[in-house]
């Protein structure tokens, strides 16, 4: 430990790690945005990163340092020893841009990260602060790429055609000269694959699910939260227990019964079954919220001659509106994203929900970009709702315990 806690060694190692991370990120970014080959050079990013790390120990002016590293990287890149190896197709422009990006994003953050370091022996605080700063920077890059790349690929693939996809899987440039032709996959999905009707089915099934769920779970949650009766504690627990039964285990007998009664392949069957999967979670979330409401207000209502039902309707529900919004959003999300039951119970393309419709695109006869366009259509509405109402949604997710 004492050896690593040396200003020179720490600065060099962190400098190298960070430079290599940035080299990879810039190479991937440039490949994805131009389609030309870029790859990080282990050797030269090591040298440049370690050098910059050591340099920060003595000279700390951000602007000069960043500009210096940028120039140095570009110069080295020109003579073929750059931190990022650039294929011939990319030309001088590629070299300059990638080297400049590398220089900027290596030097600037490094200066902040290594602020606490001094030449020679470090104490524990100085050392750990630098390590934590590095891990934080690395974490932001890691999480952001890990989360965004699949969505980025999903959107970009949906805008391409079969030939472009096979030719260069790395090329995610958008050819704006194609104009509206860019959205051909989407147009075809709505025109030939009936996606307009799937969208509508998914929407009204989800909304119906929300209403039925609320109608069942509000009285139940109120009873569990406020009324005293034998078996209340046991009931509270068994709600959670029902949560633990896997859907696939229930789907099998439901499939059998629906096949025999003719409910399979009908929207009615789907609307009957979706709320039951969401009622327990909604009841659990709502009773937690109802408990937090002051019971004095309700008691005042009772004293003034309201019945229990009137108390729920006129006092509890208006107070619980934010919770109702959270629960509704959460239930809507579950119903919208539901796949297993729709997949097992619906066979008729005229009655597909959106998730079932996207699943039907997953065949060798349907081109990849159609599948991805379908995925985008399924994702966009729920994302729009999520971003617009994030506050409620996050609350719903937290309160809804950890249903997955």
């Amino acid at each position: 430990m004492r050896v690593i806690q040396n200003g020179y060694i720490t600065a060099a190692v962190i400098g190298w790690f960070w430079a290599y991370t940035i080299a990879i990120v810039v190479a991937v970014l440039m490949s994805f945005s131009t389609g030309d080959p870029f790859k990080p050079s282990f050797m030269f990013s090591l040298l440049l990163g370690a050098g910059t790390g050591l340099g920060t120990l003595f000279y700390r002016h951000k602007l000069t340092m960043a500009a210096g590293l940028m120039l140095l990287s570009i110069l080295l890149g020109m003579i073929g020893f750059g931190p990022i190896i650039v294929g011939e197709e990319a030309g001088t422009f590629g070299i300059v841009v990638s080297a400049a990006l590398f220089g900027l994003f290596t030097a600037w953050p490094l200066l902040t990260m290594l602020e606490s370091l001094v030449p020679g022996q470090l104490d524990k605080h100085e050392f750990e602060e630098a390590v934590i700063h590095f891990l934080t920077g690395f974490g932001y890059i890691f999480f952001t790429t890990a989360v965004l790349v699949p969505f980025y690929v999903m959107v970009m693939t949906s805008l391409k055609n079969q030939q472009e996809l096979l030719q260069n899987p790395l090329d995610f440039t958008i050819d704006f000269s194609k104009g509206t032709d860019l959205f051909r996959s989407y147009v075809e999905l709505f025109a030939d694959f009936n996606f307009g009707s799937y969208l509508w089915t998914s929407f009204y099934v989800s909304v119906l699910t929300v209403f039925i769920t609320l109608a069942f779970s509000i009285p139940g949650a109120y009873a569990v939260a406020r009324l005293r009766f034998k078996g209340r504690a046991a009931f509270g627990r068994s709600i959670l227990l029902i949560y633990m039964v896997p859907m696939i285990v229930l789907a099998l007998p439901i499939y059998i019964v629906f096949s025999m009664t003719g409910l399979r392949n009908t929207i009615v069957g789907i609307v009957m079954i979706y709320p039951v999967t969401t009622i327990p979670v909604a009841l659990y979330m709502l009773q937690g919220y109802f408990r937090g409401l002051p019971s004095e207000v309700e008691e005042a209502g009772l004293m003034d001659g309201l019945s229990r039902i009137a108390v729920i309707w006129k006092i509890t529900l208006p107070l619980a509106l934010p919770a109702l919004a959270s629960v509704s959003l959460y239930v809507f999300m579950i119903a919208w994203n539901e796949f297993l039951l729709a997949f097992m119970l619906l066979d008729d393309p005229a009655k597909f929900t959106l998730t079932r419709g996207v699943a039907s695109l997953n065949s060798s006869e349907v081109p990849r970009q159609h599948l991805m366009a379908g995925a985008v259509i399924a994702t966009l509405p729920i994302m729009a709702i999520f971003l617009g109402l994030e506050r409620f949604m996050t609350k719903g997710l937290t309160a809804g315990s950890v249903k997955g």
């Binding site: 969505f151 569990v224 009766f229 029902i242 633990m244 285990v249 039951v276 994203n337």
Partner: protein, 414 residues
């Protein structure tokens, strides 16, 4: 004077309250037991039955009615033919009979010996049918002009059929073969291994990654809200969309990741990430971590923000380093939520079906117990074996839940 005694038992008010409570709970209890408890019982019942996908339709009598001989004028001969068959190829039908109203204007010349005619009402007793058996009944008739003018559609008077086939779902035939089949040999252990690997690594991975993400966002800075929303994306998006994006991304022929790795000389030839052992199992586990870390992240972050800052100030005064503060202060405070999350996520990962089904379909060593239910019931068309796997899953869950509730009672609930 007698001393005041507290009332014993429940008074009328309490009873009324309890009645109201049960009344309010009734719809929920009713619907949930209908869709959860009954199916669970059904699963136990079916798991002891030798039943396949095709047995879901019990055998029945199918009949088609035809007028043959092309009668053109009044007085022509014709044949009224009924073709009767057993819809099942291998199950017998007993007491088959048909009843039909003959159309007006036909004069019956000769009747099949198994049938009798009462006015216009034709009744035929056909006895028992073997599986797949077919019979024809022919009735010779002469047509009248009235019949030719009316040209009635024979299907207008539907033929009524009877015939009872044995419904395998309700008879008393039981077997242990389903269980013998699923516990048979190495396959069961391979499935159990995949399930346990996926569950344990996936759960711990999601917790650790979620903890790391929560540490990143546990401070105030501009754009924190956006960051938090962004990190929840994988969980909020429909599983079908993200699963297919991953499959596209890691495709061996046109996938970007393989192209990228080849270009950077990290690998020589493309890897079939979702199609070969052991990469497939690792990849579905990584997907599970990617998709569910937001959940643990959200909970851990919420708990972190409720930790009292006084403690950290005291630690600063005592000269604790950042890592020491995390190890000796934050982690013990988070232990409660971490263990609750672990238990819940463990059970839900164990129950996960959609993700693996969409990514690999259970091939290349990724068949977990839940995927096996589908595989047995629908791919192999053996509903009984599928139900038997479901019973095994249920057994595991029961064990987990008992453990869970023992533990939960000590932890403050979520």
């Amino acid at each position: 004077m007698s001393t005041a005694v507290p009332p014993k038992g429940t008074g009328p008010l309490a009873r009324r309250e309890a009645r109201l409570a049960w009344g309010l709970l009734f719809p929920t209890i009713f619907s949930v037991s209908l869709v959860v408890i009954l199916p669970l019982l059904a699963i136990f019942w079916v798991s002891f039955k030798p039943i396949g996908l095709e047995d879901l339709r019990p055998p029945e009598t199918v009949v088609r009615e035809q007028l043959r001989g092309r009668p053109a004028e009044a007085g022509d001969d014709a044949t009224l033919r009924y073709r009767i068959r057993n819809s099942s190829q291998n199950k017998p039908l007993s007491d088959v009979s048909i009843t039909d109203t003959l159309p007006d204007g036909l004069t019956v010349v000769q009747v099949d010996e198994r049938c009798s005619i009462d006015g216009v009402l034709l009744t035929c007793e056909l006895g028992d049918f073997e599986g797949g058996q077919r019979e024809n009944i022919e009735i010779d008739v002469t047509v009248s002009q009235a019949f030719l003018d009316a040209d009635p559609d024979l299907e207008d008077t539907p033929t009524i059929t009877t015939g009872t086939g044995e419904n395998i779902l309700t008879n008393s035939e039981f077997t242990l073969e389903n269980f013998a089949r699923i516990f048979d040999g190495r396959e069961f252990w391979a499935v159990l291994y995949a399930t346990m690997f996926y569950t344990i690594v996936g759960t711990i991975g999601a917790l650790v990654v979620g903890l790391f993400a929560a540490l990143l966002l546990n401070k105030e800075f501009r754009g924190k809200g956006i960051m938090r929303g962004l990190y929840l994306f994988p969980y909020v998006a429909p599983v079908i969309a993200v699963a297919f994006s991953w499959v596209t991304l890691f495709d061996p022929f046109s996938g970007s990741v393989n192209a990228l790795l080849v270009q950077m000389n990290a690998i020589d030839s493309p890897i079939n990430f979702f199609g070969q052992r052991p990469q497939a199992l690792i990849m579905v586990t990584v997907f599970e971590i990617w998709r569910y870390f937001p959940l643990s992240f959200l909970f851990i972050l919420a708990r972190m923000q409720s930790i009292d800052t006084d403690m950290y100030e005291a630690a600063d005064m005592d000269g604790a380093s950042p890592f020491q503060k995390f190890w000796y202060l934050s982690l013990p405070m988070l232990l409660g939520i971490l263990s609750v999350l672990f238990l819940l996520r463990f059970i839900w990962t164990f129950n996960k079906f959609d993700d693996i089904f969409l990514l690999t379909g259970g091939s290349a060593g990724t068949r977990t117990l839940t995927v096996n239910v589908y595989e047995q019931a629908f791919a192999v068309s053996n509903i009984g074996a599928g139900a038997a796997v479901a019973v095994v899953i249920f057994g595991f869950l029961l064990a987990f839940s008992i453990f869970f509730f023992k533990f939960m009672s000590r932890e403050e609930g979520l």
